[in-house]
């Protein structure tokens, strides 16, 4: 049966395959990173004429895609595991905070890390318990393979062991949204909601607000000074023998111009954090 389909593929392909552009960089992964990567890619295309195809599918998906060669580059918003690091190179392209967001109409301004942890374990279920109104808390989380979720859980210690395998400790009753935008829409439309999203995607929005954590405001300044602890890196990864156009694009991201775009989009560039 493979033959039939293979033949079919060959027939369909033969006239068109040659038209396929050599100068396309493909990149897939974290939805948080793809938000800024789309802008980088478009600017790069305007500048050089080389197309950059960005697919926001989640960090783990990007790591898998880059490792098995489905795409040239992968994007991740979490650290790679040791298994995943074999035969790939990684590059930190930016830093980003994880913002705890609530609906604009909610008077709460600050939560401690311990409170956030308890909310996601559903040990705290009412805003009253954290200094708010007597209203239920609707916690919203990301799907299990989100890099943002992985880092969020790691930093807050929302992990437990089952059969010696580390798994998430977020209550399974928590609502799940896939994508920063879906989560944000849920918070924007629900006055009881609480969620965590990429800090870089908070700034332009008016319907949600980012909370201080342990009294530290969620700002880019506080993230790179290290005071705001809920932070992670944006990583680009690629196989060691990846094609030159992909490397050129990575170099562009690391250049002053690329890093400036990252700043403009509300994320924290590498240079800035070195200063």
């Amino acid at each position: 049966m493979k033959k039939v389909i293979g033949l079919l593929v060959a027939i369909v392909l033969s006239p068109i395959a040659f038209a396929s552009s050599e100068t396309t960089v493909t990149i897939a992964g974290s939805t948080s990173v793809s938000n800024v990567m789309e802008v980088l890619g478009e600017t790069y295309q305007k500048k050089t004429g080389i197309d950059v195809e960005v697919q926001g599918m989640g960090s783990s998906a990007g790591i898998v895609a880059a490792r098995n060669g489905t795409t040239m580059l992968g994007m991740s918003s979490r650290e790679l595991t040791i298994d995943e690091l074999t035969d790939v190179d990684t590059m930190v392209i930016a830093h980003d905070g994880i913002a705890i967001v609530i609906n604009k109409s909610n008077p709460v301004e600050n939560l401690t890390k311990e409170e956030i942890k308890k909310i996601y374990r559903q040990e705290i279920t009412n805003w009253k318990e954290v200094g708010g109104e007597d209203k239920p808390i609707i916690a919203v989380t990301r799907d299990v393979s989100s890099g943002t979720r992985e880092e969020f859980e790691k930093i807050l210690g929302l992990k437990r062991n089952v059969n010696n395998i580390e798994v998430s400790d977020i209550s399974p009753r928590t609502l799940v949204g896939n994508g920063n935008g879906m989560v944000k829409t849920m918070v924007a439309n629900n006055i009881y909601a609480l969620a965590y999203i990429s800090l870089g995607s908070v700034d332009h929005e008016l319907l949600v607000k980012a909370l201080s954590v342990d009294g530290i405001k969620a700002t880019n300044e506080n993230v790179f000074s290290g005071e705001y602890k809920l932070a992670r890196s944006f990583i680009v990864l690629y196989k060691k023998n990846v094609a030159q156009p992909a490397l050129d694009f990575v170099n562009y991201i690391m250049s002053d111009e690329g890093q400036k775009i990252i700043d403009d989009q509300g994320y924290i560039s590498i240079e800035q954090s070195h200063n």
């Binding site: 293979g6 369909v12 392909l13 038209a19 552009s21 195809e53 697919q55 994508g179 935008g181």
Partner: protein
Amino acid sequence: MLTRKTQDKFLLAATWAAATVTILFLLWVVWHVLSNGLSFVTWEFITSSYTRIGEASGIWPMIVSTVYMVVLTLSIATPIGIMTAIYLTEYAKPGSKIVQVIRFCIESLAGIPSIVYGLFGMTFFVTTLGLGFSILAGSLTLSILILPVIIRTTEEALMAVPMSYREGGYALGSSKIYTIWRLILPSAMPGIITAIILSIGRVIGESAPVFLTAGMVTKIPESVLDSGRTLTVHLYKLTQELFSQNEWDQAYATATVLIVLVLFLNLITKLIATRYAKKSY
């Protein structure tokens, strides 16, 4: 007798109410989308490319990707579907083992949820065959998905061709394949075209099996090996990544374009069906 009459009245009222509810829901969905989206569907929105850096962002690449997907999927599935239908109606012995097996498989294919097609397409076409996230991988997946629709509808059209056509063809000494090609297929054409239009609707409407196989790149695909984002996937992606009012407007506008497209396709099917009905007299 009086209770029976009230019962009758009650049931009659219920049917009217049910029909009204159905229509109201349709009108509500359509009105909600159009009222929020129609004002943003400008010529510029339709013809400009999707951008994150400029102000005006459009859906032209998604329209092109959708067209690619439709054309490629149909050019794979239609010949296979029609030939299968010809085999089942004109060649195979009705009720034989092989016909039973083929029919069972087609019925089963029709029953598989589209997400399972996505799962399969992603493993088989994207990874195992190494096609990557591409229009081609998406089309191959969707081809299998729409095959049952094409086969069933074409079969019905072939069955409806009067026996006298076949007998007349053979009586004049033409070969079987000639009779099929020159007599049976042309008279079954309206039915076949209906099958194709139904399939177009299906290809446009699917989302999960499309983004799992064709990806979601917002550029005009240069070849069938490039990834592309269809209109439906674009709408899903927009709802997933809604950040600003501008993006809400884009989502509604995209939904509007989709509904208008479906309306248009239904209209064509209706036209063909009425012409067909007239012809058979």
